[in-house]
């Protein structure tokens, strides 16, 4: 539904903007995540059926599972597999380079930046593959985030490198690939619980932030709405989605960016260790992180890190996805409509930008979720024809594990990109009233999430 570039008609006057329509299928990263994720999955199934899974395993190579104990051992791995890493690099470079170019990125900027990202990712995997990594809490998501932050804020990378540090694109691809290991039956059975829990907490958090901001601190209600959904639904993406609904100012969104980024980073680093100190089950912690973290990428980093600490990454990530993606992200269009209605009907007309439009539910729908559902259904159907023994002896090592490795690559690209794009000096200064309104909401969000995930639905999330 975005504008086309043909806004200047033949008669020389500004034309009415046309909907993006089908162009969205190749101009939005959500759709590219769907095409790449499903394409990779189908490619993997075809290779498996043809008995050529070695190709897929080669493309999915990483040193994360090496458990090396000496640099000679690590060096030997890279020397022995140098050609495979070269093919893999070219594979990712072509996939991401071509698609980001179609979306408008410059290849002269993308290629050098992606080389840098790939090399750093290899380093991350190598650290994660050290035999003593777990002993020193060197979980790949946390190390990637911290290393990225240090590089971005100490060495001042040029801004053009951001063209390859596409946090959202990588996480969306990772989520679609995650669908390949996510039984559709789990989505159908656990989805309603996740939606109920997430909706309750999101509503409470948004209302708390809004009323604290407006009633206690007298802040602009457009700002209150923008940071309210930022803290309650899905961070900056939610803030941007309702910004036009309430006619928010640029500084309102800029403020939301700062608050969301700072608190999301704090929670990535804190929630896994708090969960461990409490001895939480991986599924319970994943659900808690799913209600507490604002952004998908940040939540994945936290849930994946804790899952590794607890020895069950799969469970933590699954609970997180159910809570965050199914429970919160899907409904962003409805939030946008509700705020447009409030702005139009309740607030003064002069402050409103437009009237509510039900079609926004689809326009603002995070389309990558379609890929997640499709991957889940496709793999559930495909693997349904195998016995448990065949699944474990053939399907898991030759199809599921290589796809999981490709997904991990996408996540490592993402976690590094979070750090590499976070330049604290670029963030907007935030007033104390705004900070406290948001922070009180965060406190409510985290507390309610803990209560429901641990005490009310604890047995449920630990057994999904």
């Amino acid at each position: 539904m975005a504008t086309t570039q043909e806004a200047w008609n033949e008669s020389g006057e500004a034309a009415k903007p046309k909907p993006m329509g089908w162009k969205e299928l190749y101009l939005k990263e959500d759709w590219w995540a769907v095409w790449l994720g499903l394409g990779l999955m189908i490619f993997a199934i075809l290779l498996f059926e043809a008995g050529a899974s070695g190709v897929l395993k080669a493309l999915a190579i990483n040193p994360g599972g090496l458990k090396w104990s000496s640099l000679d051992q690590l060096g030997g791995h890279f020397t022995q597999n140098a050609n495979l890493y070269l093919y893999q690099f070219l594979f990712w470079l072509v996939l991401f380079g071509v698609t980001t170019r179609i979306m408008g990125a410059s290849l002269s900027q993308f290629i050098p930046a992606f080389i840098f990202l790939y090399v750093l990712s290899i380093v991350m995997f190598a650290i994660a593959g050290w035999a003593n990594a777990a002993r020193f809490n060197l979980e790949a998501p946390l190390v990637a985030l911290i290393l990225g932050l240090v590089i971005a804020n100490v060495f001042r990378l040029p801004a053009w490198m951001d063209s390859a540090f596409r946090v959202e694109y990588f996480i969306k691809l990772g989520i679609v690939l995650l669908g390949a290991t996510f039984p559709i039956t789990l989505v159908l059975t656990a989805g309603p619980v996740a939606i109920a829990q997430a909706t309750f907490i999101s509503l409470a958090t948004c209302l708390v932030i809004y009323f604290v901001a407006t009633r206690m601190f007298g802040l602009d209600r457009r700002l209150a709405a923008v940071i309210g959904v930022g803290g309650a639904v899905c961070g900056v993406s939610a803030s941007m989605a309702i910004a036009a609904s309430v006619n928010a100012k640029k500084e309102h969104l800029y403020t939301s960016v700062t608050l969301v980024v700072v608190w999301a980073l704090v929670m990535i680093l804190v929630l896994p260790f708090v969960s461990r100190a409490m001895g939480l089950n991986a599924g319970v912690a994943g659900a808690w992180i799913g209600t507490s973290e604002f952004a998908d990428a940040a939540g994945f980093a936290a849930s994946s890190a804790y899952g590794k600490m607890a020895g069950n990454e799969d469970l933590a990530v699954k609970a997180f996805v159910l809570m965050k993606v199914i429970g919160r992200d899907l409904w962003i269009g409805i939030w946008s409509i509700v705020w447009a209605a409030i702005a139009t009907i309740v607030w003064e007309k002069k402050e409103t930008g437009r009237t509510p439009d039900a079609r926004e539910i689809w326009w603002r729908f995070p389309k990558f979720v379609i890929g997640f559902f499709a991957a889940s259904m496709l793999m559930t159907i495909f693997t349904g024809g195998f016995s448990a023994a065949d699944f474990n002896s053939a399907v898991r090592p030759n199809l599921i594990l290589p796809l999981t490795s490709l997904r991990t690559w996408a996540f490592i690209f993402c976690f590094l990109s979070i750090g590499l794009t976070t330049r604290f000096r670029d963030l907007h200064s935030v007033g104390w009233k705004t900070f406290w309104a948001f922070t009180i909401g965060v406190g409510v969000n985290v507390s309610l999430g803990y209560m429901l995930s641990v005490h009310v639905f604890g047995s449920y999330w630990s057994s999904i």
């Binding site: 504008t3 034309a15 903007p17 408008g104 959202e168 800029y254 437009r354 794009t421």
Partner: protein, 79 residues
């Protein structure tokens, strides 16, 4: 053109291109993206400094965009 048919997306003050939006709001790309579906056609009005959609009915400050404003690859410059 009938003034009532004018929309923000065709105005020179409208920034709707993803790259331009991410330049206009540093940090937007850290945990979000201007290339995502969720943004839909939301863009930034350089005249009022507020967010509008491309389909929003234009205000009295409407000024038609020129091809130079729009550019060849949707990288419309903020005014």
């Amino acid at each position: 053109m009938d003034p009532s048919q004018r929309r923000c997306g065709a105005c020179r003050f409208f920034t709707g291109a993803p790259a331009a939006l991410e330049r206009a709001i540093p940090g937007l790309n850290i945990l979000s993206s201007a290339w995502g579906s969720v943004r839909a056609d939301t863009g930034l009005c350089g005249q009022s400094d507020t967010f509008v959609t491309a389909a929003t009915r234009a205000c009295t400050a409407f000024s038609g965009a020129t091809p130079e404003d729009i550019g060849p690859s949707d990288n419309r410059r903020p005014p």
